[in-house]
Amino acid sequence: MHMVRVDPQPLGDQSPHADPARYARGWHCLGLSHRFRDGGVHRLAAFGVTLQVQADGQDQLTARLEAGHSPQDLSCLEQDGLFYVWHDPQGNPPPQDLTIPRLRSGTGAEDDEDLEWSAWAWKETTLAASTGQVMEHVVHLADSPHVTESEQLYFKNVFEGQLATQYFEGPLHHSYQLQDPGQNAAAIQLADSVAGYYGPAVMIAQLDYVMEDRNLDAIVLTAHYPIDEQHLVLMTGVMVRTEQPPAPELKTAAAGHATQILRSITGAVRAQLDDAAATGCRAACGASSPVAALHRWYSQFFVDEQDVSPQMTERFEYEVDTTMPMDLWTRSSARNLILRRVNGKQLA
């Protein structure tokens, strides 16, 4: 594993594929929208081809895939200071039942018009990995050491339709803690988060952090788009609910956290790749494991819409709850066993 340089470097020799690559159907975030508004034409390597972004005469951003002789205009969405494109190999418009939620309460698209939330602390990196490998971090908390330790923890994955939601309540996962806290940064003691994948490539997390001296409300957006089959751009943005007047250390905390989350995800992806390389294959897992459920759900974005099956979209829940003490379970089941024995004697 190695990090590759961000554009415009070519990504090296790639063997020609017999089958053209298929990229996911869904909304993909291309990052902060103001970057595309400098009057020029922006060319990005995306979806195995070149993606051209520019502002039109009405100052609306437009996106076009330059695929051979038939360029394809993409549906776009600009909101909350971010620019999204709808990618569908079948060329259909975005569905009504999958919309990216508005995150800012203000009407302005720009960060500085929002009094409730801070500006985005935004980080991007290019990673030599396939998009499916990035997805898996959403279920990995289920295997975290927390689950086997005696810590109070509530964790749940829900897959339904085109949404995948992750609930987490407990001590913040160690990989998300600030590694290098600034002098004003307080340690995050507890986290309550609900994160949702809106389709295959955009995850929005609503976080409530309990710190020593205050609570911190944050929204974290994690998104990726494929450059080609082996490379992708991974991005993380954090905004925090600001106090009046805004506290400068909140901004520092947000920026530090964005860096940390990006580091954590790239670290997780690397560990996965190393693991897969070491064992030669993924460990077998049953149909009821969260990884298998994630794969079933994720596969819907890589088939034609008419081929999406109920197995891919029907609601599946995976829950880990250690907040109900084990001894309560044990006591109630022990009592039940005794009752049964007593009843059995009475019956005999």
Binding site: A284, E317, Y318, V320, D321
Partner: protein, 90 residues
């Protein structure tokens, strides 16, 4: 993983909700772990699931049915719902 273990690993058991007619497939690997496979039919029957979400943010989504959760807990305590890992071990 042997075929037998695979079988146990994937075996889900049916649980009926005590408030509505929903039937779901449930697997518990341990006291604290629960997997639930719904069908669209069961989801339509669920009384706790709002017909229409109030918003589109992650916290607006339906976390799960508390009544069904209680039903699963009861079934487990009664011994009707076997813990999958225990079943595999015994």
């Amino acid at each position: 993983m042997s075929n037998r273990e695979q079988e146990l690993d994937t075996a889900m058991q049916q649980v009926r909700c005590i408030e509505c007619l929903a039937k779901v497939q449930v697997r518990k690997s341990a006291w604290e772990q629960t997997s639930v496979q719904w069908t669209d039919e069961a989801l339509d029957l669920c009384r706790e699931r709002p017909a229409r979400a109030t918003g589109n943010l992650p916290r607006d989504q339906f976390v799960g049915c508390e009544t069904l959760r209680a039903a699963v807990r009861d079934e487990t305590v009664q011994g009707n719902l076997k813990l999958a890992d225990r079943a595999a071990a015994s």
